[in-house]
Amino acid sequence: MDGGQVDSFEDRREEEAFRVDLDGYEGPLDLLLELARRQKVDLARISVLALAEQYLKFVEEARRVRLELAADYLVMAAWLAYLKSRLLLPAPPKAAEPDAASLAASLAHRLQRLQKIRAAAELLGERPHMGRDIFPRGNPEGVDVVNAPVYQASLYDLLSAYARQRQKQALSNVSLLKTRTVWSLAEAREALERILGMALEWTALDDYLIQWVANPAQARTVRASTFSATLELVKEGRIDLRQDHTFGPLWLRRKGEPPPPAIAAE
């Protein structure tokens, strides 16, 4: 539906010859309105009977030239044929249906309404359009947006921030005065040597550790350092070290005792 079609519509209106061509009509009502315009009278005083006859003639013509007609054109034709017969016949005395005159009036009303809205659409279209006839400011500065930050924090945020750092600082200050949390190799070796005399029989390394390590949090560093220290002592030939299976306890004893038969067999 472009301007071209509107033009052809206008052309068609000027062309008085009745031509069977449905192109450009937007359905039966549009066609009826066009036919009504040809009566060149006020739509309010239009002859619906004449209009119905014209429409029916149009449809007959169309079928004669085997023009494909959309269903709604045929529905309208059927309705108009009915209306025509009702208009020609005298009104039945007690009609259950609406009388033919009011049916005709209602059709005329619909046509008028369509015509008026078309006129309104035209008036609307003729108004100056923004961007075509009237223009807003070409380059408005706009309103500067200044960000006004609003800080948000809850009392809980404040208190937990306070407690968090006070506690952190308090603990790190105190820990400087405490014993080191890491057991050095020297410490482990010294401790081992001091107790070596007690280990005449095979003794689990863990036994020593449990005995020596007061703080369970230090178990890891103590085990690591002590193990390194035992390896040093084995190398020096001062102790024997064995492990019966993977991840099993480490056994150690002072060197000089005869090895147990199981170990000798290996």
């Binding site: 359905g27 008026k116 006839d133």
Partner: protein
């Protein structure tokens, strides 16, 4: 163009009268200061500026309607006019200068006749359902036509009619008013003619009165919110679609 100018509110004789009246009684020094501020605010804004927005920037004692009336009077008959749309204000070029301002390169896409008629029905008859539009035009509405109108931003989905099938109701937007230079929906051209002809009482019992088109944000008595149902079948129709 000249008869169009008559329809335009800027060239409205009553407005001109009011303007000349206002010009005769000069604004006070204080009002002048407020006029300057409003002038700058409306001028700088990217979109029509709401009266509330202006009121916020003015002293509480400022008489905003009077200030805007003065300002409008000052721009009366000038190359740039101060125009109201709803409760918003903006400057735009005078419609009679269109000939000099039209830019060759930008040819705005023309709406099809079907779309223009549908737009007119929605504007004059709003809130309107698809079935009402089809009833007036006597032809099924293609999905494409409504899509084009929604795309222009001139038409919006308002809600649903409280009737069987709960059809979607359509109405116009502020952008529609802005585009066609209307202050409010009742300024639609030819509306009085249509109302006088009593052509829009189709769906109302006789004697009910002719409905006034309404584009209020609020829903009417026989409307309800869109809800979250899918809108896809809003376009379902058993009429054949127009070609």
């Amino acid at each position: 163009m000249s008869d169009m100018a008559d329809q335009d509110p800027v060239f409205d004789l009553r407005a001109a009268d009011a303007a000349s009246h206002l010009v005769r009684e000069a604004p006070t020094e204080e009002q002048r200061a407020h006029m300057r501020l409003c002038e700058a605010l409306i001028f700088a804004a990217q979109e029509p500026l709401g009266e509330e927005e202006m009121a916020k920037r003015l002293p509480q004692t400022a008489d905003l309607p009077k200030i805007l009336a003065y300002l409008k009077a000052e721009y009366f008959g000038r190359g740039v006019n101060l125009v109201r749309v709803g409760k918003k204000w903006f400057f735009r070029t005078a419609p009679d200068l269109a000939w000099a301002l039209q830019r060759e390169q930008i040819e705005p896409k023309k709406l099809s006749r079907a779309a223009m008629e549908t737009l007119a029905i929605i504007a004059y008859h709003q809130p309107a359902t698809r079935a009402e539009i089809e009833d007036i035009r006597g032809v099924a509405l293609s999905k494409g036509t409504m899509d084009v109108l929604l795309e222009t931003g001139w038409v919006r989905l308002r809600g649903r009619r409280k009737s069987p099938g709960r059809p979607v109701t359509y109405g116009t937007t502020e952008k529609f008013l802005l585009h066609f230079g209307l202050e409010q929906i009742s300024d639609l051209p030819g509306l009085d003619d249509l109302k006088a002809a009593g052509l829009f009482d189709g769906r109302l019992p006789k004697g009910f009165g002719v409905p006034q088109p309404r584009d209020d944000a609020g829903l009417m008595d026989d409307e309800e919110p869109l809800g979250d149902e899918p809108l896809t079948d809003a376009f379902a129709s058993d009429l054949p679609e127009e070609g």
